[in-house]
């Protein structure tokens, strides 16, 4: 099994939009999708397993073993023209080859459901502390770029979008599926042991834009309370980083010359 996609039920969708957010920097994509799944009561309809995922399993708080996996949820509402398919998971493939193969297979499967547009959620890593995160965007065609701008999204001129969240928008373009990638601005901190620091503020910024674009109502109160909790932690990390930079500057001789190669 290089990639195994298990669909739990036969589905028919009404002009669906696909929204993708796998774990990555700041977990911006994953937090955004998880929040939508919870608030909209989206229903799980598919699971993706792969040899390209990290080779460990998770033991959860109830003592149950879980394989690393990606999941597909759907949300339907008669009032909306488009059903939503939400793609997330507890991991993404480790190697470039795996990321290509999984993204390709998932897209191919979902295209059979008539997906009309893709929204991929990722992180935009800045080099300065982020007071109010901005949302950057890239798209498969100029019309979508202009559309993004009307929602206050800043066009991403140059840069890279690493991992599956970026790759999937590139693959979508090759399959003539239109879409955009929305990137929440984050400092992209990691703990000393290498764990990703979840940036709720960045996810909230993306959620504000995305829900407006989709025209759906989402209760933002729960994420607001989480913003306060995580902001304090991130502020401490920023202070520690700033202090460290000052110490480096103070201990570096003013006439210190560097080798340039």
């Amino acid at each position: 099994m290089n990639v195994k996609i298990i669909l739990k039920q036969k589905m028919k969708f009404k002009d669906p939009y696909l929204i993708c957010g796998l774990p990555g920097i700041g977990h911006v994509g994953k937090v955004t999708i998880d929040y939508l799944i919870k608030d909209l009561n989206a229903v799980l309809f598919g699971e993706v397993y792969s040899h390209f995922f990290p080779s460990y399993v998770l033991i959860n708080k109830d003592g149950l073993v879980e394989l690393m996996k990606n999941e597909l949820y759907f949300w339907k509402d008669k009032k909306f023209k488009h059903d939503l398919i939400l793609f997330t998971g507890n991991t993404q493939a480790v190697s470039p080859e795996g990321q290509f193969i999984i993204a390709e297979e998932v897209l191919n499967t979902l295209l059979t459901f008539g997906v009309k547009k893709l929204y991929s959620i990722a992180a935009y890593v800045g080099d300065k502390p982020v007071e109010v995160p901005r949302v950057y965007g890239a798209a498969t065609d100029p019309i979508l770029i202009e559309e993004m701008k009307t929602y206050g999204v800043l066009q991403m001129g140059n840069g890279n979008i690493g991992g599956t969240n970026g790759l999937i928008i590139g693959l979508a373009k090759t399959k003539e599926l239109n879409g955009m990638c929305l990137l929440g601005e984050t400092r992209g901190y990691q703990t000393p042991s290498g764990h990703t620091v979840v940036d709720i503020k960045a996810a909230r910024a993306v959620l504000n834009v995305l829900t407006q674009m989709l025209g759906i109502q989402v209760d933002m109160a729960p994420i607001e309370s989480r913003v306060d909790q995580t902001s304090e932690f991130i502020t401490k990390l920023e202070e520690a980083e700033s202090l460290m930079l000052k110490q480096i500057q103070n201990t570096t001789p003013k006439n210190f010359s560097r080798y340039i190669s």
Binding site: H51, F53, Y56, V57, I59, K61, L64
Partner: protein, 226 residues
């Protein structure tokens, strides 16, 4: 060499729906040591060995079970009692009760899932319906804790044996993957985690005390004197 995983059968298994017991050289080698002890104590018979081009003899990751896509290791053979031996997974059988004892081995990143799937294919051939995985954890809490593939099994472990769910987090390597993939195949499985401490630099150095604790509980679960 076109095949990547192959199995050599030594004798026919006469087991009837055996319980598979799985261990591998993971944290403090608790799983492997417990299987070694069971094989010896129960005078289990070697029925098959699984070999793979994904098995490094020399691991480039430390510990061996922390696989990495760019650190695939080096192949090779070991000499055991003047005989050449490939790295391998061994399957032993024992009766009363019918047990299939698996001494695992960690494949490199490219083959970990494939090897675990092949082992589960063999379980289907041997008609395995239940599995017990043995491993160690370096967390806090009691001397032993448990995990399972469903909540009914967890409840049973709590009520019958006083085991608790304490460890939460990742479970690396061969045994973890066999445990997780067994869930997809509806093989009812439990895991006993012996509490241990990782020693600096040598995560796989033996912890005999944790093995003794696991054996104590295993003896009660299997209703055999160990």
């Amino acid at each position: 060499m076109s095949k990547t995983i192959w199995v050599k059968h030594f004798r026919n298994s006469k087991l009837n729906e055996p319980i598979a017991i799985v261990g591998s050289p993971g944290l403090r080698s608790i799983g492997k040591l417990t299987i070694d002890y069971l094989v010896k104590k129960l005078q289990a018979k070697l029925i098959a060995e699984l070999y793979s081009t994904y098995f490094p003899l020399i691991f480039h990751t430390k510990p061996s079970y922390a696989s990495h896509p760019r650190l695939l290791g080096d192949a090779g053979v070991s000499i055991r009692k003047s005989e050449l031996a490939f790295p391998r997974i061994q399957f032993h059988s024992s009766t009363f009760p019918d047990l299939l004892l698996i001494n695992g081995y960690h494949a490199n990143f490219n083959g970990q899932y494939a090897v675990a799937e092949k082992v589960l294919d063999l379980f289907e051939e041997y008609n395995v319906k239940k599995m017990i995985v043995l491993a160690g954890h370096g967390g806090k809490g009691n001397e032993i804790c448990c995990a399972a593939t469903n909540l009914k099994l967890i409840q049973e472990l709590k009520e019958k044996y006083g085991l608790e769910v304490e460890y939460q987090g990742s479970f690396y390597g061969f045994s973890g993957l066999v445990f997780g993939l067994a869930k997809l195949r509806s093989i009812e499985s439990i895991c006993l985690f012996g509490k241990t401490e990782s020693t600096s630099g040598e995560a796989e150095s033996p912890d005999e005390n944790a093995v003794s604790v696991i054996l104590k509980y295993l003896s009660r679960i299997l209703k055999i004197d160990l």
